[in-house]
């Protein structure tokens, strides 16, 4: 397990933290944050995949081949960041609407108010 580079440990940490946050926090905003952290972990994983130690950036000179970092995951990550940003925006606006309606962002309180 020590063979895994530091980045993968960070990925696991982020993913786990995010998941823990989603599963245990009662504040909706914190749940939204947790989702973001989790996705950050996934995206870090994606970026790390493109790189083997010693690779060059695919900017000047050849863009594919051995010794050059893979540009495809970079493109994927950018797309995924955009998607994550829009979902976060949507989630936050929903939370604001819920707050206006129920006066709280605590999930337990909202549940009891709904009953």
């Amino acid at each position: 397990m020590m063979g895994l580079s530091l980045a993968y440990w960070v990925v696991l940490l982020l993913f786990g933290m995010g998941l823990y946050c989603i599963l245990t926090e009662s504040n909706l905003i914190k749940i939204a944050v947790g989702i973001n952290v989790m996705e950050a972990g996934l995206l870090l994983f994606l970026v790390r995949l493109s790189y083997s130690p010693g690779d060059l950036a695919p900017l000047m000179g050849p863009t594919t081949g051995p010794g050059i970092a893979d540009p495809i995951p970079h493109a994927l990550t950018l797309t995924a960041i955009v998607i994550a940003a829009s979902t976060t925006a949507l989630m936050l606006s929903l939370i604001i609407q819920i707050y206006r309606h129920y006066g709280t962002v605590d999930i337990e309180e909202i549940r009891s108010k709904m009953q």
């Binding site: 599963l23 245990t24 999930i107």
Partner: protein, 482 residues
């Protein structure tokens, strides 16, 4: 291979046909269907109900003329939908509840039949009728058992037929159980348990009928009982058994419809079928009384009416099954007693309260004519059984029932029954209406719904708990499902 499977499922291959086996059923359904529809129309029902009755008769005809199992199934379920609609069309809360229970019973029956048919198709590769494989038998037994009203699934019969409005129960009562009997001939030939099932039905039906206080419930339980006779007959899978059972089908459908018509006439004119509060109608509705009498004599197997003939043939066919034979004989005694009771309370005795005797009119010709026609039919086919014998599945030898031994065998049970009733009348009138197994089923249903409700409340709206589930199942899946 796959296309073969689709082929054997037979989608799109619709087949209808009349052959030796279903000829008598077709005749029975057409005849009674026509009489029943005439009767229904005479009570001037809303057009929807009349249409439903017509469609129901047609669906039943489709069912018995089906040429393969798929067509049979489709019409079977169509009958369910239409009869459900007929029951709830009465509009009362009671009919809606009875309809709901009826729906449940028959959806379960349909489910059993469906599995059975598919097991059969899988084993034989085609949708044609054939001898059942062992795996299919329990499913067919479930489906057909509910349909014919076998114990302990019989409770829907009195429940549904008594709760529907009188104008439809005449048409309703004739067909569903008989289609089940037909299904035994086609799908379950030779299963040894069936005659015993029939014997149980005959006995339990009569016993419970004796204790009922509403004439239509009495008739409903008698359906169970008489269908038990039919089931015993066709379950033997011998030529004489099938013939006797089929003859009993057409005879029963005639006299039971007649009896329901008479009971319906009473309800139509008097407003109730509660036996303890009726009486003396012989003075005001003599025509109805005669028809009811003919029906009662037929069902009790008194010569020279048609019930006598088919019961005699059944007894001959059951020669090798003493248990079943004796059960049916006892049931015959009970039938006599029960119908004596029915006639006594409705027509013969002096009513306890005078309000009923303020002159209900006789039924109008629209209802009287079908009743009389059926009564004539019962007498005619009783005197000359060979009219129908040619149409029976095996067109079997028609032993003459009008021998001395035959006449005595047919006459003594109803006489004993009448005697029993005369003696036990007071006792019977004080006995309460017994609860039946469906009290158990209703409690089961309530329990199930309570469990469902609690389950729903517990799992609802728990965002994080349910998310945890995803994680857990993901891990379990990775670990366990290798």
């Amino acid at each position: 291979m796959l296309q073969d499977a689709i082929q054997s499922l037979g989608f799109g291959r619709f087949a209808l046909g009349i052959d030796a086996v279903n000829m008598i059923f077709v005749i029975a359904f057409v005849m009674v269907g026509t009489m029943g529809l005439l009767y229904t129309l005479a009570s001037r029902p809303p057009i929807k109900r009349a249409m439903l009755s017509l469609v129901f008769v047609l669906a039943s005809l489709g069912c018995v003329t089906a040429g393969n199992m798929l067509t049979f199934l489709i019409f079977w379920e169509l009958m369910l939908i239409v009869s459900y609609l007929m029951i709830v069309s009465a509009g009362t809360a009671r009919s809606r509840n009875a309809g709901f229970r009826y729906l449940l019973y028959h959806v379960i029956a349909g489910a059993g039949m469906l599995v059975g048919v598919l097991v059969q198709v899988s084993a034989t590769g085609s949708m044609a009728f054939s001898a059942p494989t062992n795996a299919a038998i329990p499913f067919f037994m479930l489906g057909i058992g509910i349909k014919v009203g076998a114990i302990p699934f019989h409770t829907w019969v009195p429940d549904a037929y008594a709760s529907a409005s009188p104008s439809v129960s005449v048409v309703l009562s004739g067909f569903t159980t008989k289609v089940g009997v037909y299904a035994i001939i086609r799908l379950l030939p030779g299963v040894a348990a069936i005659p015993y099932m029939g014997a149980a039905m005959a006995l339990v039906g009569v016993l419970l009928a004796l204790l009922q206080k509403y004439s239509r419930r009495v008739l409903g339980y008698h359906i169970v009982s008489q269908v038990g006779y039919m089931v015993a007959g066709v379950g033997l899978a011998t030529a004489s058994g099938i013939d006797a059972g089929s003859l009993h089908v057409i005879n029963h459908i005639a006299y039971k419809t007649l009896l329901f018509m008479a009971a319906g006439a009473v309800i139509y004119r008097v407003g109730s079928d509660h036996l303890p509060s009726l009486g003396g109608l012989i003075r005001y509705m003599p025509l109805t009384f005669i028809c009811a009498l003919v029906g009662a004599l037929s069902i009790s197997g008194v010569p020279p009416f048609n019930g006598f003939v088919s019961k005699y043939w059944l007894k001959l066919a059951l020669d090798g099954q003493p248990v079943v034979l004796h059960a049916l004989t006892i049931a015959g005694i009970g039938t006599g007693a029960s119908f004596m009771k029915l006639l006594w309370y409705t027509y013969l005795r002096d009513p306890e309260n005078r309000t009923v005797s303020s002159g209900p009119k006789e039924v109008d010709p629209g209802m009287a004519i079908p009743m009389l026609l059926l009564a004539v039919f019962c007498l005619a086919t009783g005197l000359r059984p060979d009219i129908l014998a040619g149409y029976l599945p095996h067109a079997g030898p028609a032993p003459d029932p009008f021998t001395l031994s035959g006449l005595t065998a047919g006459a003594w049970p109803p006489v004993a029954g009448v005697a029993f009733f005369t003696v036990a009348r007071q006792l019977l009138s004080r006995a309460p209406e017994p609860p039946d197994v469906d009290a158990l089923y209703r409690r089961g249903l309530v329990l199930m719904e309570y469990v469902a409700y609690s389950l729903a409340r517990i799992t609802e709206d728990r965002l994080q708990g349910n998310l945890m589930m995803i994680l857990v199942v993901f891990l379990v899946a990775l670990l366990v499902f290798r």
